[in-house]
Subunit: 98 residues, 2 copies
Amino acid sequence: MFTAVEILSALAEPTRLAAARLLWDGQEHCVCELMQRLGATQSRMSRHMSVLKAAGLAVDRRDAQWVRYRRAPNLPPSVEAVVTAALGLPIGRDRMAA
Amino acid sequence: MFTAVEILSALAEPTRLAAARLLWDGQEHCVCELMQRLGATQSRMSRHMSVLKAAGLAVDRRDAQWVRYRRAPNLPPSVEAVVTAALGLPIGRDRMAA
DNA sequence: AGAGCTTTTGCGCATATGCGCAAAAGCCTA
DNA sequence: TAGGCTTTTGCGCATATGCGCAAAAGCTCT
């Protein structure tokens, strides 16, 4: 696990990329917050977060009824670099042609 | 086209990521060379290269019987950064846990 | 225990993706 | 034009992915 392809695949989905963007503020975010801000259903958001977690990009913590996700700490620099670069891409359908 | 998800998806496949690595030497590579070095069939490699091309990461050129692919010139810095970062990830199934 | 949260998970379904195979399409040389 | 390259493409298939829905699982508080 934690292969390059796994990490890239985790980021190669709109909702997950948007979630990563939110997580990358360094704060904790419960699923209920993420689903609201990203306009997703709970089950959908839950599964997407589990993918980010499985890829090693996020960690979760139970806090009472909530599950709080945050970016994985101490990521290898190479992984950190990929996420940072991915978040640096224009959002949405912007053209990026040369 | 050329969305962030499209670019990440293009890189989130073993053969395509390996092909990008080869293309990123700045040189031209025909499909026949790529398929040999990556152990793929022609049709498989041809389709993978067309995905990289559709994502805007590669351009092709016909040279006699060959089609030579090379990395797209003048990529936006943000895109260039994603590819560079992706290629910086450990190859294969290496563990990347913290 | 029971009500009311949040979150996860099982199920089925629709679509996307990757693949092999074989035919077609380009191109060069004889 | 015919033969032999390289490459692309149409087809079918198997698997992966993403989704909604509803049930289940955790948790808190009364």
